[in-house]
Symmetry: D2
Subunit: 136 residues, 4 copies
């Protein structure tokens, strides 16, 4: 299992007239969470694309527990529980400043070779950085 | 069961550098779908809020089948299958111009009384417009 | 002079906690306005890119007169006043349902050859559709 | 004159199919810049609203010099040059990781009393924190 924490500050743009973060903005927070989780491994998602791999999302689930408010510094916990293969699933938990769980879910992404447009296994240059967390 | 169809044109703003619609923009399309589905019943979501009810999202699931591309006129099919009570679930299917299913999912929303901040049953002024579709 | 009108419905996602459209969402409405203005000439912006030309924005000005509200059907008036050359300027006026001018501004875009990354004159396949509006 | 610097990391969501940041996303970066500039004075924009003042944008100008790319850590410089009165103007400059100026502009906001919906002078609790930068 690999786990990582980062933070994101709620922007005014991300609120809606209900006075809380619009439900459709959480996928951006999840993106920030997993990009920083990958960066902490020593890989940027940018470099993954530069090596010819894109990672389109195939599945998204979100459960909304409490609203996030403007200007809150949210804690984003990103977890990879299962060993990735042709797909990787990032679990995500978001906590507000009072440390209440306000939102959780998961995002599954595929590894896609840009040129051949075919699904591939997790590339070695990524797996080599992750395998220590999966006892391999 | 209540079913409704509308369309949405993909904006440049909604694409990302993968050359397709960003995964986090589909919740906006789902919103357009359900708002127009409600409007076709003779109710605007705006008027629901003006009558003191807000509808926060409690759950979102999306499966991504094919990418949506810039400028495509997407067809959004919105379906209410189960009789709403304290919550209402909108199923959503998105089709591209070639009529391929590219994306589907569901959004569950609660009915919340603005003043008391408590969950309530679907208000009569909404249910009265929907019950014909549920044999009531 | 070339002038075109279209409409856009304000999405919930586009409001902020001030209860009106977020100031940073108007550039998207301007985009919708100019894309539909071009389409009305018989050209899609998509086809422009397919012919190897991209049109990056070089300048944007907006004046905010009145707020736009959720669910309003806004009228977007897009005007090309000056003959385009290496750049094209779209003036934009947005009116609410009461036909009050709520927002106006202009966007200047360049014509850029994708391969050579150099600025070019307005391509003939575009100008040929526009020149009738400029007495040429 | 008051000047402040902060950074923002470009999200995938903020790019478009041209492979760079969408022109309409810069107002969000400007927002981040001025909100952090205000916070550095010891005031949060959130607390301003809690004291009954909202700050709607009345004018926005942007010049786009170079594109911002995915994952870049942009430097946002926010400057208040003129003494604010009923309005405040934030100049904004954005630099990429190579320290090239890629984008600049200005945003003018009004001070509006929420209850009376009338324009007011800059509130004392804000001005008291700023006046030292204007030799007052």
């Amino acid at each position: 299992m690999y786990q990582h924490e980062t933070t994101v500050r709620v922007r005014y743009a991300e609120t809606d007239q209900m006075g809380v973060v619009y439900y459709g903005n959480y996928p951006q927070y999840y993106e920030v969470g997993r990009v920083e989780a990958i960066r902490a491994l020593g890989i940027s998602y940018k470099s993954i694309e530069e090596q010819g791999i894109v990672m389109p999302v195939s599945k998204l689930n979100i459960k909304y527990v409490l609203p996030a408010k403007y200007d809150e510094l949210l804690k984003i916990v990103t977890i990879v529980k299962e060993k990735p293969d042709k797909r990787i699933t990032f679990k995500c938990e978001i906590y507000n400043e009072a440390d209440n769980l306000i939102n959780f879910g998961e995002v599954t992404l595929a590894f896609l070779d840009i040129k051949s447009k075919t699904a591939v296994h997790i590339p070695d240059f990524i797996w080599n950085k992750m395998k220590v967390f999966f006892n391999e």
